[in-house]
Symmetry: D3
């Protein structure tokens, strides 16, 4: 069953019959004492709430947070806000739907990104660093988690695959700047770009579209967790040099750039300075890109006030056809870069 | 007369007979009432001070700040510091010396940089922006000033030609990142990179190696001065679009990135965000490079405490042979970039 | 038709038939699919919203943002808030109403303020500065804009004529303090006071009571815009001395007093220090005065929490009859002061 | 004996025979074990140090910190600094000298300032406030201390009489602004201006030109001390209204304007806001005036970097003849102002 | 009449007939012009609002803010929030209820705390300090106020008796740390702990569960008020040493630890440093304890975001039986401490 | 050979013949080209520098940084500073001296502190935590390093044994406060107190009295290093619970209390809040104690300006006889505490 009705497009009066993700559910009672359910439904385009007045007992075991269900009902404006009056909910088979239909997902495909990741790892010539990357991304549980994780709970790259997309973008910028500036250890910098947020795979928990912090994530933070993960991985590689490990861990620990942003040490090497810049830049440019996608006019348009940046932004519309290939088809890779990867 | 004795290499007891720049001069008197001169001499490697006990009257008209003179005397340690006891000073012909012998100068030649500047200007396809660049760099007094100006009084690119070197490096990074991120107006960004510090040509006064602020420089600052210079230049170009001018002036005004760093407005466009990052990054990487040049050992070495960064830096030595060509030989320019410039 | 019903005085159940300004309008639909309009109406005393359930098609072309219309309906409390149920809207002739009835306006008349402005300009003895003031205020489009502009979008002097009222108040304080302190160039300071916010005439756009930022206003800010306006005006005056222009522009650029408040340079002259103090003081005293006007009791009363000042204020009621003459004729000098000094 | 030789004017080789204040004295020994004295001598123009090699035993009881003595010796340059070789020191009669010869003193005479203080007190019409001022300034020990105290250890009004001079200047500005702005209680504000720093008479200890903090001054601060002094004085006045006392104490406690400047409460009344502005303004303008006095050229001149203001200042020379009368007799009101308003 | 129905436990549909505190009351009118009352009712467990549609005229004199009344009605969910539909309100006799039933109160009894206070006072061996404590706590109006005052309007110890509970806890920690660290004047520190917030008895006004700032409280702050109260008390004790008073006042004035937290002076003695630490610590630990009491599960649980601490807290449940006796039974007092108290 | 001449007590003219630590050595040359040595000598009381004019070649291999040597010479004042003219230097046997004679050392003996550490470890009843403490302190290289390490390079506990002294003091305060406040896990808190700075054993390198940062110390910081050390130790203990490890690591990572002080996470548990307070408090109280030891008078005395605290401190002299036993004799341990340890 292909989903056709998306939350974003619903208007007052629409009759609904389609699949939705159950984001949350709460049982309540009418004044007469009759139980009913208050549901929040979602798909990748947004969320909508509303009551299911009847059959609460029967519906409750179906309406589980994180489940995808078939909903019948009608959209209605109530208190200036669009609600859904739910008439029926049915369980559906897990094979009947694609996760990316229901939760926001990177515009780049996982295969595409996985391919680029492999090419970047191959481009790392320093044997120990390449071995470490292979160990972490191919070895155990971290690799798969890394591919689907979001980069953050809010603000930038806050969608499935966002962490990988962000890390790849940073690694490509890292390679460009390592070529531009003198005395940069390109392999160390690219490795740092790929691993800088690796701790987020243990810091954040992703239950079908609901991102939460783990206890250890809050109590230690993804910088320290990542530093430890890399330390453990390096100990699993025979002869991994202590000094290289220290430098790589320094990249991870210092990449927030300032103590008040949660880095326990400031960037003190050329690569650490570069990496903290690239991380900040890539996050901000992704935010601008996400906001620009929403501009529907042909003209530049002012954004809402961006609390995270403490300013308004003047956004230019992103026209679909001018899309830059995120990684570049084979034939487009610049000569210099082709030898690199 | 080719200079052979440089301040950096002087040791206690050395007999001096060579050319030096007069950095400052002060007349004093011995207890017995005899006048003498206290001179500070300099060349591109450093500074040294000392007294000329005799012939003060005769020497005074020769020892003018900013003049290059022939000095005879002897280096002596006094109070744990190397001084020079000056025995004689003679005027020399202005054609007898090269400025770069006496003041620190960019490692890149002016011709080299001028060539790159031309190529970057040519790479700007938007007619009005290219015309503006030509107008400013080729038209009047600004172009030549821009080529020899330092980028700052201290910290980064603080040597002759530093402003141009810094602007070119930023423009190249700008071109790279404009290709990497979506929705960036490359021509606007590259033009902004080349012009962002243009106001420094009026903010700073360079009198043979002594960099000073002008009154207007202190009272208005180079951001506003640059904004006005660009405004006047644009009015000299028939039909220059108001909107383009506003965006370009916004790049100049906002490039310090934060109000407390002297930008009267925050970066509010994608290009302005990028430019403020690139400026900050390029300045810091230049500082790291300058410090790394001083590392004489083969091993990484901790720098002195860097007050501007509030930290120590672990510096890797820059080996001479691994020099990256600053602009890249013709054959090395990546395909994609080649079409750009 | 003289307006008699003001928003501030409406109570639940009132029947309405009077003129109101359309502040905003939005078309919506009932569940049954019938279109209706949601209007926000305003006059100088406040705003009120409500639906016009019938004749949406016919009313829509009449209910244009910024238009003054005749509204019939009834005030009703809904969800603890007073609304208006709109029964009919009619277009009215533009000559039928006075703007000051519908938008908040300075308590001082425009004629009164214009007269004072002329006297202050005449009091400037330095020929170039007086010529500049005449050029800007009498010459072109700026003068009229200046007279009706608000001084800000929120907080202080946020009403029509507020910019002129604020500038005049500052100029009078400037004249007082220039007499009190030694070594102050009174003419420069008074000129700076009158011109310090001149850039706001291009930064803010005033469409019948709706104040908005222009693009150029946000991207450059009124300090830089004002600096450029003065520069252009000075170039239109034969022989205007560069140094005087620089000092005047410094006053404009530095008048916010601190970099983090958007001044690209700090006040560095005695006049600039004074002007930044006077601006801050006058803005705060106007805020206190606006708040004090609302105190209806005889006793001092605590204000709401003032976010802009991060504190509560203890306000004394302003009794109407104790109004100080804003400019003061000779015979109006208070006895107190005359005997004192 | 009238002092003729001032420190400021001494040059290498001068023979000295004049009165100086002993600022500090330290006993030392030559390698041969012979005791000698190291003295720092001062007058209102500056300080100079040097050794008295002979007769240490006999000189020591004469060379007491704070004493004025007759010194014979010679000025000599040593290590690039002017010293004095002291040959003899003699005690002098306390009646033989004027304090203002030896310590920096307000340019205004004490009589002049005392007269103005009386007129200002008389101008306060509110009986309780006038009584309080009389009580404090005429009653006990505070009045005389107040007249000679400096306003601060460094920066502004840091000379004898500076506290009174500063308080009077503030009171006059207070009167001007109380007339300018609506709803200001002029008497409260003027009283606050005169009393705002009264706690400094207990915070600072002045021993012939050496200003020190008292223990209670450091442990409580002059704001709280002043608040208590006023509280005690008010309790000595029958029927002094609690509310007036609270408001006056609020002026004293809040006059530093911000918590981080040591005010335990922020200014929350119109008068408190005004007073904190006036204090800050008057201090800064005095600093500018002190610096301007040192400008010896006809042209504006940049000051040294002012750490307290975090900037350089462009100073205009103060020509002696343009002195404004500090208080202004009736006949002294400038023509300009009279015609203007 | 013992109260049985508490706000916290009400559910939709409950019939009410019990005593409640009137927290606020507002008169409104239906569209038909009929007056009705909107009441907010409270007890120590929480607050609930709702309309009394009938008999507004008769009920209004009964429903006075701060009164305890008997309410009949029904709880109903409206707009997702529980309301109460009030059918009847009756006045009740003041003797019919206990304040602690209606306002949040310290878990420790007043007798218990009064006893501990006496023992702590007795433990102070320095005669003047003990006399001062007796004077303040036993002498006049302050003692009783101190016993029932809250420690703050929000955040920590914000319940009746909270000020005393907080002061006692601090005094006990003070005694422990005075024993641990060298060179601490234990009596001064314990006295400071007991008196540090004494000014709150004049800063805050407590009208049956509604805590408000007094005018003098806002205009002077409890630090200065407390300093003055102690000063007055000390003057009432013959021969109270000035130096001891200064030190004690310093403790009170500096106990917020930083200027930006409202202390006019920083802690400059060992005791002042300790006291500011203990105050901050005790406040934060009380907040954690209050939040932990609400954890209903057996597992540690994350709190809501704590704005005052800028973080989430991981809270462990406080099991009732593990309650530490707040003061310790006689037999549990450590030997060392027993001699102390 | 027992050392009798300490740097602190030397005066001009003293003849020296005693042992000193070579803190640094530099070879220089006279104008005549003769080599000589510039030495800095030290003992636990201070440092003194001076030249050894003769026999540079022979002395150089003896005068090694970190060596203790026998020095003969004479103290002389030069440029107002005491120097030593070195006549001869001789090597001495390593067994001939005690380290604590030459470097500042904790006032508590190592045996004493080791005994207390054992008792504190024994007092930890939670098996895994006690096992972890034994593992770390008794197992390998960390224990011995921990006993002699300083707590910091400057400011507080900056002497040999300072780290252990500081950790023990914190653990005792931790035990006291765990008893005072409800719901605290005493064993976790005491363990955290003992281990919070364990990373300093790898962060700092101690070469006979010269404390330096290691590369890994600077690049990762002692918080992260300590977190990893504890992680590795816990993995060496069979069945060590993950949750306990996370909580303990959280204590270590958050103990600086604020992000800007280098903690990557804020304290989020009751124990973490307490520990960060105790650490800050103990460091400050140690600083006060160190300063108080230097007060030689009977009266309280103001310290120099303490840059780390941004204030002056009023110090009371510490009389030797009132010394509190740092750990308490057996018979003095309070009953409650006796059961604890």
């Amino acid at each position: 069953m292909e989903k056709k009705q998306f939350v974003e497009a619903l208007v007052d009066g629409d009759l609904l019959d389609d699949l939705f993700l159950v984001k949350s559910v709460r049982r309540a009672e009418t004044r007469a004492g009759k139980p009913y359910l208050l549901l929040t439904l979602a798909d990748r385009s947004g969320e909508i709430s509303g009551p299911a007045w009847d059959n609460a007992e029967a519906l409750e075991p179906i309406c589980v947070t994180g489940a995808v269900v078939r909903v019948r009902g009608q959209a209605q404006t109530y208190n200036n806000k669009l609600q859904v009056q739910i008439r029926d909910v049915q369980a559906v088979d897990d094979t009947a739907w694609q996760p990316e239909t229901f939760v926001a997902t990177s515009a780049r495909s996982q295969d595409d990104m996985r391919t680029e990741l492999d090419r970047l790892i191959t481009s790392v010539r320093t044997p120990y660093l390449r071995a470490l990357l292979r160990h972490i991304f191919d070895g155990g549980a971290t690799g798969p988690l890394f591919q689907t994780a979001p980069a953050a709970k809010g603000i930038h790259h806050a969608y499935l695959g966002g962490l990988l997309e962000h890390s790849l973008s940073m690694a490509r910028v890292a390679a460009l700047l390592a070529d531009h500036y003198r005395g940069i250890d390109r392999d160390l910098l690219v490795t740092g770009a790929l691993l800088h947020d690796i701790g987020k795979t243990e810091e954040l928990l992703n239950v079908t579209g609901v991102i939460e912090y783990t206890d250890v994530g809050r109590l230690k933070g993804h910088l320290v967790i990542g530093c430890e993960m890399i330390g453990r991985a390096a100990r699993g590689i025979d002869g991994f040099p202590d000094e290289v490990l220290t430098h790589l861990q320094h990249l991870v620990l210092s990449h927030h750039g300032r103590l008040e942003f949660g880095s326990p040490v400031l960037p003190m090497t050329a690569e650490a300075l570069l990496l903290s810049f690239i991380d900040d830049l890539d996050a901000k440019m992704n935010l601008v890109e996400q906001l620009s996608r929403k501009v529907k006019t042909d003209m530049p348009q002012w954004s809402d006030y961006q609390r995270s940046l403490e300013r308004f932004l003047l956004l230019r519309p992103l026209s679909g056809d001018s899309e830059k290939a995120a990684i570049g088809e084979e034939q487009d890779i610049p000569v210099k870069q082709r030898t690199l990867f």
